[in-house]
């Protein structure tokens, strides 16, 4: 029998950090394969993480493909498996299989201005692109990151974002004004409009709540971005990751195979069922 496509590799948790506290807290986990080598991935791809006895969930890989030692995942505590993940400690062993889905065409973007527009936990899926671009800083022109959360406490990757400031423009926002917050107040799409990024030789990559993505795309279009210059990622309920279990499709596409990365030019051709 060939490789069992449903059998996960074992991976040990080597690092846990709480990014956001509260009811829907977010924690970042790093996992390393228990038995030596793990699979390689590209920016934007996902992996199925397991806790045996609880189940599996599809999570985007938040670390750059250039990082070989570990894979990073930022997981919001919303469901059965993610809640169990939040109870894990460094040293615990979980299951991982992947990588699944397509990836951001980062190589095609060399020499361009990159705009990253994230909201909430939507920073994680585009984080590998940001870190990859920063690691190859000379290959790209301006790198700009827009990112917002509901409140200052909902901002993830705080320290990492601060570190980015040296090599990229970082525009943070929170939905509502709050004491001690001196950056932008308002929703992410408005922050984008406020800064008026130029569509010239640019690519915009956005990920966040569906409603945010909708307005971000609307705003980018009004700023002159062509459909081909706008990229986003879809998420859907997934069980197999292999285009077989049948639930993550949008029209003819299984998001786990043809997605999660779509240019707006591609996405707008699909039925609106996500």
């Amino acid at each position: 029998m060939p490789d069992n496509i449903y059998l996960p590799e074992l991976a040990r948790i080597t690092y846990i950090k709480e990014e956001v506290a509260g009811e829907r807290s977010i924690k970042t986990f790093r996992v390393e394969p228990v038995n030596g080598d793990s699979f390689e991935h590209e920016c934007g791809q996902c992996a199925m993480l397991s806790i045996f006895g609880r189940g599996e969930m599809m999570i985007s890989i938040a670390s750059s493909p250039l990082v070989k030692d570990y894979k990073q995942f930022s997981i919001m505590r919303v469901g059965r498996v993610s809640a169990a993940f939040h109870d894990l400690a460094v040293g615990d062993v979980v299951g991982i299989r992947g990588p699944y889905g397509n990836s951001f065409p980062v190589d095609d973007w060399r020499g361009k201005n990159l705009y990253f527009i994230g909201g909430g936990c939507g920073l994680a899926p585009i984080w590998p692109v940001i870190t990859t671009a920063v690691a190859q800083r000379d290959s790209f022109k301006n790198i700009t990151v827009f990112y917002g959360g509901r409140s200052p406490r909902d901002i993830m990757y705080k320290a990492e974002l601060e570190k980015l400031r040296g090599v990229a423009d970082v525009h943070l926002s929170v939905d509502k004004a709050e004491d001690g917050w001196d950056a932008y107040c308002g929703f992410v799409p408005a922050n984008v409009m406020d800064k008026e990024p130029s569509s010239d030789n640019a690519i915009a990559i956005t990920c966040g709540p569906p409603i945010m993505i909708k307005y971000v795309i609307q705003n980018l279009r009004s700023l002159g971005f062509a459909d081909e210059q706008i990229y986003t990622t879809l998420e859907n309920k997934m069980k197999c990751g292999l285009g077989k279990c049948g639930r993550c499709n949008v029209g003819k596409d299984y998001v786990c195979v043809k997605g999660p990365v779509y240019s707006w030019a591609e996405l707008k051709e699909l039925p609106e069922e996500y």
Partner: protein
């Protein structure tokens, strides 16, 4: 390889298939189902309630078992399918064509290890439909035919007191060769009769999807049609249509815990169903297909639009089970026709 088999010899043929577990349709508890052969085989069934797809894609498949002592790493043990060779007699051409479609789903992109391992051990000995076995047959509308050999290893055609036996694949030839002496060479008269039986079979009236070639485009244009909710209004959201379908392949994967301290259990694949409300529901509660209309649209568009877009053929094989068994009379032929008609 084409032969004649006198009907009374079919049991001898089956007995000669050493190394094969042979299944044939049996009427048990009021329903027709494929059962291991015991006693005489008479292929006089309509169609079975369930297609034979479960032989390659069982409703429950265990991938591996896990065991974890608290504080230690889990131990995984792969569970692989059995390697019994199974020959299924009396498979209708629509279900043979169902297998072709399942093969694409589980073979393209990446091969599904479990499906492939089982599938290569299954042989289908088909039976041409001289008469439509159900009032809701519509194979001709979806590119099939009552005498199609697609997906079959052997096709039997009932010629009254004997079968015309045609091998379709190498496996089929092997099944016939295993009992060579039972078969006769077909005479010209046999071939003549075969031809006329097939011609008659093709002329039998069936339900019809109007203008089938136009269907994918019309469905695409009708995605936002309010008709979907209207047509699905009576839908009760059960799983009959998909669980009885020869081509529905959706599944769920769950961990079934069988013990704690140490934690023990299995990771299990079970059939799942796009008509269940929670099928696509995100963990957040957001559901891309929140209504019966959206779910009916998914089933119909998957069969008649998405699958053709991906694989160049409709997924539906026209067996009519979903129509015959729907508790409230939702009828895929009529649904497709109405949506297409409405699209203008």
């Amino acid at each position: 390889m084409e032969k004649i088999l006198h009907k009374e010899r079919i049991d001898d043929w089956i007995s000669a298939l050493t190394g094969w577990e042979v299944l044939s349709p049996a009427l048990e508890d009021g329903i027709w189902a494929y059962r291991p052969v015991s006693g005489a085989v008479r292929l006089d069934h309509p169609n079975t309630t369930q297609p034979p797809k479960g032989l390659a894609f069982p409703q429950r498949e265990v991938f591996f078992s896990f065991e974890q002592i608290k504080g230690e790493a889990p131990r995984l043990t792969q569970i692989l399918p059995d390697t019994v060779q199974r020959a299924v007699f009396g498979v209708r051409p629509c279900d043979g064509r169902g297998a072709v479609r399942m093969d694409r789903v589980f073979g393209d992109h990446v091969e599904d290890t479990y499906y492939q391992a089982r599938r290569k051990n299954v042989a289908y000995v088909g039976l041409a439909c001289n008469q439509p076995p159900s009032a809701n047959c519509f194979c001709l509308s979806v590119g099939g035919s009552p005498v199609s050999t697609d997906g079959l290893d052997v096709l039997l055609t009932d010629l009254g007191d004997r079968y015309f036996v045609a091998a379709v694949t190498e496996t089929g030839k092997a099944l016939m060769t295993a009992a060579n002496s039972l078969f006769d060479e077909p005479a010209d008269a046999d071939r003549q009769q075969l031809k006329s039986v097939h011609t008659e079979a093709l002329a039998q009236p069936q339900r019809a999807v109007h203008n089938p070639d136009a269907v994918p485009a019309k469905l695409k244009a009708s995605f936002k049609s309010p008709l979907w909710e209207e047509l699905a209004r009576a839908c009760i959201g059960c799983g009959i249509c998909t669980f009885l379908c020869p081509t529905c392949h959706c599944f769920d994967i769950n961990d079934e815990v069988t013990g704690s301290a140490p934690l023990k259990g299995n990771r299990v694949r079970t059939w799942d169903n796009c008509q269940f409300p929670d099928f696509t529901m995100h963990t957040s509660g957001h559901n891309p297909r929140p209504t019966v209309g959206a779910r009916l649209r998914q089933r119909v568009c998957h069969k008649f639009q998405y699958f053709p877009e991906n694989f160049g053929m409709p997924q539906c094989t026209g067996c009519g089970r979903c129509i015959s068994e729907c508790p409230v009379g939702i009828d895929i032929v009529s649904v497709v026709n109405k949506v297409v008609e409405h699209a203008g």
